[in-house]
Symmetry: C2
């Protein structure tokens, strides 16, 4: 992959991060840095900065092609799905990776607890309305996966209904893929000990109190149940066309770098070029010159 | 204003940019750099970079306060309205100024030609649905002002209806202000000669063709009519609570710096601090320690 800067990376991490047959979440080391071994954080900062320009130009091509897409039946789309336990760093990914992209090309949605109106519909209803249109990078901060994660842990729906959702999710995502969407699903994995430390940090700092919610501790007490729910979701919904990637997030710099690379890789595989002019360039130059 | 870095700025540009009584758009020099005289572009790059961190922390406080806002009746909001002739640099403002802010705190809307559904409602309908919620910075790339600009130039509505819109806009914006929204309205001003050069550049570069639309030349032919429509809109809708700022945009670096400063100034005037914890910090530390 040309998107991998060999100056920084030892090897492409994608295959190591992808959830395939036999995957076990419990075997993931949250402090690992696959593909980026033996280097220091300073190099990671440089690597992230070097990826910004590349991601930027790839995103601009994606966006540009959607402007010319009416002619060839619609532009491509990219959807980044972010899931994680609290404090794992989703916000940092949005800020430092997604935030480096032109905001005009990004459609970000943070899914919260469903509203009464959303609950009155099937669980995919609110998600369908937020999938990215042509030329856009959609970002889901939490997603339809909450309906097989928190919903499973807290038994928010009958067991058979939750069972059925895995298949509904696979179908939903396959439909998106068939419609021209590249889906990148990322779970950030941290250790329970790291979460405790990060929550404590929020309690220690008055400028972080607003990020803390007493409910975070209640959810934390269900850590093992969440890990089980993630394991099931990952193995049942990581498909060839919409694979999951589990990214170790004990080191925040690694998680950001890995997600940046996953996005760069997804965009590079689209092989986009600048779209041809849909007008007569020479004639337009003459019209413009006459003004 | 503490938001003004005296290392770079000679004087606060805000009063010079504000549209007040007797304002004449035709008297604005698009190549001027009010408050930033006698310096070179390199300094401007440094100044913009130095503002990024400040804007970032101010935005985070705005967002944080909305989380604690249920207690005190709702958080504050900021709305940046961007208007300009084609190629004046709205996109660059969105990318380089708005784009430096955490995307989780920004709600960006690019208003295009209205859809049939939007046309079936009053002209403010689509705009009302996109005003920022508590804690957010809303950004309008074009806005309800198109309904007194292109609509006036092309007579898209009866003259008396367009006349009535100025008052409707003033009332709409006053309602937003009364509801806790700080409105920053910016018109980027370039010269007709600069526009010609920038359009020609788009035609000369295959990687810019997607940004060019033959309709741009048609609109360009109505330059004087647009300037008149802007003059009327500016003088009728620049109010004490929702003033217009006309920012010279012949030098892109200046326009970005000026808009960044306008945002910083708007946020600083809110005098926000970190919101107090809505929970018992000591008790939460004990609960967390027990996990």
């Amino acid at each position: 992959m040309s998107g991998l800067n060999r100056k920084f990376w030892d090897s492409d991490p994608i295959e190591k991060l992808r959830v395939g047959p036999g995957f076990r979440l419990a075997a993931v080391d949250p402090d690992a840095t696959p593909g980026f071994d033996g280097v220091v954080k300073k190099n990671a900062d440089e690597a992230l900065a070097s990826g910004v320009g590349l991601l930027d130009s790839l995103q601009e091509k994606l966006y540009a092609n959607s402007k010319a897409a009416a002619a060839d039946g619609g532009g491509r789309k990219v959807l980044l799905v972010l899931q994680a336990m609290d404090t794992a760093g989703k916000g940092g990914i949005v800020r430092h990776v997604v935030g480096s992209v032109d905001p005009q090309g990004v459609r970000l949605t943070a899914f919260k607890a469903p509203t009464p109106e959303e609950r009155a519909h099937d669980f995919l209803w609110r998600v369908r309305s937020r999938v990215p249109g042509p030329g856009l990078i959609g970002v889901f901060d939490r997603s339809h996966y909450e309906d097989v994660l928190i919903a499973r842990v807290h038994e928010l729906a009958p067991a058979e209904e939750i069972e059925a959702r895995y298949g509904q999710i696979r179908q939903f995502e396959q439909d998106l893929v068939d419609d021209g969407t590249t889906i990148v699903k990322v779970m950030l994995q941290i250790s329970s000990a790291d979460q405790k430390e990060r929550l404590l940090d929020r309690l220690d700092r008055p400028d972080k109190h607003w990020k803390y919610n007493p409910g975070d501790v209640d959810e934390r007490m269900r850590w093992a149940d969440y890990q089980t729910a993630y394991q099931i979701a990952l193995e049942r919904t990581s498909t060839p066309d919409a694979p999951w990637f589990v990214v170790p997030a004990g080191k925040k710099w690694y998680a950001r770098l890995a997600v940046q690379h996953l996005l760069i890789d997804a965009l590079e595989r689209l092989n986009l070029d600048w779209p041809p002019a849909a007008f007569d360039v020479a004639a337009e130059k003459l019209r413009l010159a006459a003004t």
